[in-house]
Amino acid sequence: MTEVATPVGGRAAIVGVGETRQGEHPGLTGDDLAVDAAKAALADAGIDKDEVDGLVTCLTLDGQGTDLAIGRLLGLNPAYSATLTYGTCNFSIHLAAMAIMSGMARTVLLTYGANQRTGRVDVTRGPARADFTEPHGLVHIAGPAALAFRRHQHLYGTTEEQLGSIAVAQRAFARMNPLAIFRGPLALEDYLAAPYLVAPLRRPDVTMISDGGVAIVMTAGDRAHDHPNAPARLLGMAQTASLRESQNPDNYLRPWLRPVADRVFAAAGVERVDVDVAFFQDPTSVWVLQMLEHYGFCGPGEAGPFVAEGRTGPGGQLPVNTNGGQLSESYMWGWLHVCEAVRQLRGDCGPRQVPGARVALHASTGAFFKGAATILGRDD
């Protein structure tokens, strides 16, 4: 088993979650939405903003969301603040946990807001110069994901029907989630009848672009019960960085995610069979396919049959993205996945509740260069 020097071991916990309505917010900036979400999360945590001594924000694709801007709007002078440029929620949570464990802050507010839909933000091109990919037309995450899925098909015989099972399963959950943007029925026949976007991927395989805000309140483990709702403790966290990107062999398949899985389970002291509900950040369905294998819920190449058998859908052995994920709920860079994980552990998810959920896994990536995972658990 992988050794982890000093695991977080419950010394930080999520005690508040909140979000805005998802979809379109004409007239509001991303910062406005981050602020509105922060108010909701503080209310959920049952605290006043004066109890916040840490702030972690997330830079949007168009440069909104700095801690300077959000802190000013919220009227905060925290002991610690920071902004992550790849703040797909796991990384933000880990930074907040490190601030708490180091003693630099006790109660950290994390917030993200984007008006990328009404602001017509160009999401097709990466933040860095990409002279050797984008001029050829390899734009938008759907392109690299299509490369990765076709390679998976070649190696393992995975079918488009199997891939479609992912979007179908997540839509079945989204239909039970009032927050979700896409709530219409999606059967496998509907999926297969949809035109290709970037073959072999279809529209339901790719996230929508949406406006919205999400926020989280984290605090030190010894204060986890000073709030109205049951805490979701951080049992383990782990990351990896594949910064050499395309220099790494088979980088589009992201084999470097496997060590993150080994480390996060070792840190949390739980086994894969202990996971009651899993969240995989999903700008495309291919990410779910890859991470089911890399996180060891099935063997290499087995994710296609695994999802086609309905194991990740409602009533399945491993419910995945019970909020509908980014494919159906909203494109919030994994932040809403964490809200859903916390609510599943609280037992607050109504018709889509996973009965008795005690342990949740949240796994995410920064495109083809970073991976992160958190295991959350309830106290009782």
């Binding site: 050797f132 001029p135 037309g137 734009v139 990765a148 076709r150 073959a199 395309s246």
Partner: protein, 138 residues
């Protein structure tokens, strides 16, 4: 392709990468080999990501390779490529080492497949910019 201002173009005058673009204009695939450790730096780099040496040599290679995977853009996801759809982008494992991205030339009665052998082709996009494409070896 669409109007020039809409094109997504590489910077061809960056001194680190310019020899590649010069080579492409001259119908050559030029790759940068580290003089200390022989690693092929792709994308080109001032310092070798393998051994951190600076010394380097540009070599013209045949540019042949094998299709690792490919994606067919049925919809234009960026307006610069609106006139190009449908188009195919391939990831090609060059015999010289690196994985290179490039358009796959259409060929009559030929469906591309992973594992197909390809050779470079060249497309002058502007007077300064030539992109390396790939076509199947008959």
């Amino acid at each position: 392709m669409s109007g020039r201002e809409a094109l997504v173009l590489p910077l061809v005058d960056d001194p680190v990468t310019a020899p590649f673009w010069t080579g492409a204009r001259e119908r050559r695939v030029a790759l940068q080999r580290c003089l200390r450790c022989a690693y092929v730096r792709w994308p080109p780099a001032r310092v070798c990501p393998e051994c951190l040496a600076e010394e380097t040599r540009w070599e013209t290679v045949q540019g042949r390779g094998t299709i690792w995977s490919f994606a067919v853009y049925v919809r234009a996801l960026h307006p610069a490529f609106a006139d190009d759809v449908p188009y195919t982008v391939a990831a090609v494992e060059l015999d010289a080492g690196p994985l290179m991205i490039g358009r796959l030339d259409e060929a009559p009665s030929w469906e591309p497949a992973i594992g197909d052998r390809v050779e470079p082709a060249f497309e002058d996009v502007t007077p300064d910019v030539t992109l390396v494409r790939f076509r199947v070896i008959a």
